[in-house]
């Protein structure tokens, strides 16, 4: 981490009022994020996932599992993305698939953030043996083959979005912990932290009030990139037929397309495009956030 300046120190002061209710710890970051084309496209795609995922029951014209129309019907006015071999509406499947992806993303982020930030802060702030121990454990999780682990878990315990989210959440925090640790290490000795310390604040209070808000944006960059990879892994599981058969998912739909590749292109094209758009959105947001924070990508 070459540059760990808190966002406020580099923000252009007085250009205009900060966005109200900015999600980040520094409203300026969100505004600078949305000033970049990649930020706008990225945030737009992520917002689309959230909206479609939340509103799926109202947006989908049909039950995605209902046998509704003719078998393998190409895209048309009635079936915008065509139908599958059983005559199920693919568009409704894509809409409900967003819900599954959203659920996985939220679950994994929550776990990764809590574990990664806790371990990273502990390691960076305490240092010494605690730091060594935390980083050894993190290294172990970095080399653990997550995808194979997920396959073994599905094979032994059965499929399920929650289960996959747990596997990815409990194994993917290590990179985030490293990033947070590096941030905390560089923030620990800075003037504003020392000022708080001199002002009599205790360690816990300094971490929560001074260090974490400044370390979090860097962590969010990695969280975005990580979630993209997690979505791709989950899609691969679905493609292999290892996803929950009662929950629509894009990977599952893509796997269904495989035997019909030469006769029903739409079954393969739309689920893959949905995954691409979502992962692209997360990656672009992370890229733009890196730039908005004034770091080299």
């Amino acid at each position: 981490m070459s540059d760990s300046t808190p966002a406020s120190a580099t923000a252009e002061a007085g250009v205009g009022p900060a966005l109200e209710g900015g999600a980040g710890p520094e409203p300026g970051v969100l505004r600078r994020l949305l000033r970049r084309p990649s930020g706008v496209v990225g945030c737009g795609l992520v917002a689309l996932l959230v909206v479609v995922g939340v509103a799926a029951p109202w947006l989908a014209p049909r039950d995605p599992f209902a046998i509704d129309g003719p078998s393998l019907s190409p895209p048309s006015g009635r079936y915008p993305m065509g139908t599958d071999a059983f005559g199920r509406d693919l568009f409704s499947g894509i809409v409900f698939g967003a819900r599954t992806s959203l659920l996985l993303t939220v679950l994994t982020s929550a776990l990764v953030l809590v574990i990664g930030v806790a371990v990273g802060t502990l390691a960076g702030y305490r240092g010494g043996r605690v730091d060594d121990a935390c980083m050894r454990v993190a290294e172990f999780f970095l080399v653990l083959p997550r995808f194979f682990l997920a396959i073994v878990v599905v094979a032994l315990y059965g499929p399920g979005v929650e289960r996959i989210g747990l596997v990815f959440g409990f194994t993917a925090w290590a990179l985030l912990a490293r990033v947070v640790r590096a941030e905390v290490l560089s923030l620990r000795e800075r003037e504003f932290v020392e000022a708080a310390r001199a002002g009599g604040s205790g360690g816990w209070r300094i971490v929560v009030r001074e260090i974490l808000p400044n370390a979090l944006p860097a962590a969010l960059v990695y969280l975005g990139l990580l979630l993209g990879q997690v979505l791709l892994l989950e899609a691969s599981l679905g493609f292999l037929g290892l996803s929950d058969p009662t929950a629509m998912s894009w990977g599952f739909l893509a796997g269904q397309a495989q035997p019909f590749l030469r006769v029903a292109w739409w079954m393969a094209v739309f689920p893959g495009a949905a995954i691409l758009a979502t992962v692209l959105g997360l990656n672009l947001t992370a890229d733009a956030l890196t730039e908005a924070l004034g770091r080299r990508s």
Binding site: L144, F147, F148, I151, Q258, L261, V269, N283, R296
Partner: protein
């Protein structure tokens, strides 16, 4: 590279390997469902169940089972396949060459294509070619690998006609020698290319960033001022240093590549470990599952180790304690 660093780095492998084995073993043995029922059917009599349990060592306490497992592992014994009755290690060993062939071909393709694209983009940052390459790699990086496979089959293989999309050899082929190698190569091309796609994107992006940074640095400006030809500036002065981090990425992404093979082998019917893994999941063949998990994890650990050592050797700036 000091001998102490080498020894320390080698020592760090021990707890990692032990941890991986414990994770695999615990997962398998805490799983619901009785493997004996999967073996002997649901309606076998108690005596037969007991016989099967004893035969596969399933009547032992958990700790004893782990001790047996760990000891067996040191001799390369993963137990017998529940389904085929043969040693799980043999099944894995049979499939390993096909997967290794696919992975090494992909890695070679990804390095060559990725570095080439990175040079094209990074030698003129902000230019048209940079934008084209950056856009493509961005999309490749975000696309699911099975989708790229499906699109390649739809848009390339089907129209072209002579590029096979299933299997490793032509059906009923009995060719040997050069003809056999050519046949395998023809089958290998598309899966290897598709598997390489995300690595190409990662390598190209990193090469581009590194090259662009190096080209803006003082030593490159000096070389240019001295009148060194542009291709020499890029090739000799900038690229060498820009490629250092690429080594780490190529090594560090082995996990992704190994995971990708499972999917690609399914898309292209490639008879490797990935196919074996998927069929073993379907049949609940725990020894084979565990063997593949262990082999994949060990492979990642070994490649990471080698990557670290190569990197330390390549970059004289790094000094370890």
């Amino acid at each position: 590279m000091s001998g102490r660093y080498l020894a320390w780095r080698l020592f760090l492998v021990v707890p990692t390997v032990a941890g991986i084995l414990v994770v695999g073993f615990v997962l398998v043995h805490l799983a619901p469902g009785d493997p004996v029922q999967a073996l002997a059917g649901e309606h076998g009599d108690a005596e037969y169940y007991a016989f099967m349990r004893a035969r596969f060592g399933l009547d032992q306490p958990l700790l004893a089972q782990f001790a047996t497992f760990a000891a067996n592992l040191l001799t390369g014994d993963f137990g017998r396949s529940f389904i085929q009755g043969r040693p799980a290690f043999d099944l894995v060993a049979e499939r390993l060459p096909a997967t290794l062939l696919l992975i090494s071909a992909s890695l070679a393709l990804a390095s060559v294509v990725g570095i080439a694209l990175g040079i094209v983009a990074g030698s003129r940052p902000g230019g048209v070619r940079d934008l084209a390459v950056s856009g493509t790699t961005l999309a490749l990086y975000a696309a699911p690998v099975f989708w790229i496979g499906q699109l390649v089959i739809l848009l390339v293989a089907v129209p072209v006609g002579w590029l096979p999309v299933q299997g490793m050899t032509s059906p009923g082929s009995t060719s040997t020698g050069l003809a056999h190698a050519l046949d395998v190569g023809r089958h290998l091309l598309l899966p290897a290319l598709v598997l390489a796609s995300q690595e190409v994107a990662a390598i190209a992006r990193l090469t581009r960033t590194g090259l662009a940074t190096e080209l803006a640095s003082d030593h490159v400006r000096t070389a240019r001022a001295k009148g060194v030809a542009e291709w020499q500036v890029v090739g000799r002065h900038a690229l060498r240093r820009a490629l250092l981090p690429v080594v780490t990425v190529v090594g560090g992404r082995t996990g992704h590549l190994v995971a990708g093979t499972v999917v690609i082998e399914t898309v292209f019917g490639w008879p490797g470990l990935g196919r074996l893994l998927v069929t073993s999941v379907g049949s609940g063949d725990r020894p084979v599952l565990l063997a593949i998990f262990a082999v994949a994890a060990l492979a990642v650990v070994v490649v990471n180790l080698v990557t670290d050592l190569v990197y330390v050797r390549l970059d004289p700036r790094i000094r370890y304690r």
